[in-house]
């Protein structure tokens, strides 16, 4: 499944880029993430508990950051598996300045397998987009909280 879209966060490009590389921020922004630890340069181990309506799943996996080109782009590779299935995602994030905000564009491919893909295919698209939206909403909240106190 291909996924692409964009989201505008009300912060500058450098800060947006920097925030998305900060494991503590990523851990708080990723829906259901309850553990994210650096295990190698640019490689994190993660655990998440996803709850969407009645469906819940525990996933364990890895997050990798590659092809860094600050503050314009980087590649995010996520792999996770759990009892209900597995997922693998590989996406390129590009950051473009838009006045005082930053437009983050994502484009990538997600593979989902196992039970969750077998019965949930109809729902993968909506739920992935919903989770991505939640991620960016939380990132925006994080960004606003970290913004230098002043500037109005």
């Amino acid at each position: 499944m291909k996924l692409s879209g964009n989201y505008t966060v009300p912060i500058g490009r450098e800060l947006a880029y920097h925030l998305m590389q900060d494991p503590a921020v990523l851990a708080r922004a990723m829906p259901g993430c309850n553990h994210l630890a650096l295990v190698a340069p640019d490689e994190y181990e993660m655990r998440m508990k996803m709850v969407i309506s009645s469906i819940q799943g525990l996933f364990a996996g890895k997050v990798r950051i590659a092809d860094r080109n600050p503050p314009a782009s980087f590649r995010l590779i996520v792999e996770g598996s759990g009892k209900v299935g597995f997922m693998k995602g590989d996406g390129l994030l590009t950051f473009a300045t838009l006045y005082t905000s930053t437009d983050i564009h994502y484009e990538g491919e997600v593979q989902v397998g196992g039970m969750i893909a077998g019965v949930g295919q109809r729902l993968l698209d909506t739920t992935s987009r919903y989770l991505i939206k939640k991620f960016f909403e939380k990132l925006t909240a994080e960004a606003t909280a970290q913004m230098p106190q002043a500037a109005d």
Binding site: I52, I55, T126
Partner: protein
């Protein structure tokens, strides 16, 4: 498959049910048409299931001054065949008759459907067109939300942990209004790939009132106010239906691409508008 072990409670009063649910850890079982398959596939593994099936008084349908109150445990069949709804809220009865298959309609409930909040469910289209309200209860009290406020996003509602849906309240239709629910159904599951619910009342040779609710197209159902505005000002069904997917991020899955879904939304909205207009007097 066999579900994981879970604790099962079947309270016989609403107070007992709300007390059991109060700590937010138990899962509510209504008709079980979504929860049970998910549990059997082990995609859902609640530790405690509270069955609402033995709580009396939750499946009534009655008319009051503020609208028609439908108990959360009313089945789709009860809604489709209710004389009160058929006479005073035909849109909801018609919508219920399109849900799933006979077995699902006999077991599935309106409360379960709206709480589960599947983006391809049928009711949300009608409930947006009807500007319905949803009554919620928990151990700490009751509250009423507009359906638009209740539905947050795909599979996500305003229900707090420990809170349940007790009633859906819909307005009684004015006489002479025309309604229609048209859907493109997925042949195997019966889910709406797109569904359009319309209510129209004529006035002075033109359109006095129109409401359009759309389901299945996007991650959540919505009221298509842009369609309503164009129909009301121009009276042109095709022009109005043409904008139904404007600004909407359409779903794409193995059943239908986003492009096809958007096109079908226009086709089915036009159909629903035409039929509702023909029925309005």
């Amino acid at each position: 498959m066999i579900p994981q072990n879970f604790e099962y409670s079947a309270p016989s009063t609403l107070q007992d049910a709300l007390a059991l649910l109060a700590d937010g850890s138990a899962k509510v079982l209504a008709g079980g048409m979504s929860l049970i398959p998910l549990m059997k596939l082990r995609l859902a593994a609640p530790e405690h299931v509270v069955d609402m099936g033995r709580v009396p008084g939750l499946d009534g349908i009655h008319q009051a001054s503020d609208g028609i109150h439908i108990g959360a445990m009313a089945t789709h069949y009860q809604i489709e065949s209710s004389p009160v709804l058929r006479a005073h809220c035909p849109l909801l009865a018609e919508t219920a008759s399109h849900i799933g298959d006979v077995q699902v309609r006999n077991m599935g409930t309106i409360g379960g459907s709206v709480a589960h909040c599947d983006p391809a469910a049928d009711y949300p289209a009608a409930l947006f067109a009807l500007e319905a309200q949803v009554r919620l209860a928990s151990a700490s009290g009751e509250r009423t939300l507009s359906f638009a406020g209740f539905l947050v996003d795909t599979f996500t509602t305003a229900l707090e942990p420990g809170e349940i849906v007790t009633e859906v309240i819909v307005p009684a239709e004015s006489s002479g209004a025309g309604v229609s629910y048209q859907k493109l159904h997925q042949p195997a599951s019966g889910f709406a790939m797109v569904g359009a619910a319309v209510r129209i009342a004529r006035a002075n040779g033109g359109i006095g009132f129109v409401r359009v609710g759309i389901t299945g197209l996007a991650s959540k159902a919505y009221r298509a106010t842009n369609v309503e505005t164009i129909l009301q000002s121009t009276g042109n069904v095709e022009k109005a239906a043409a904008v139904v997917a404007d600004g909407i991020e359409a779903n794409s899955d193995l059943n239908a691409s986003a492009h096809y879904r958007s096109q079908m939304a226009r086709v089915y909205t036009a159909r629903a508008l035409k039929i509702a207009l023909a029925r309005a007097s």
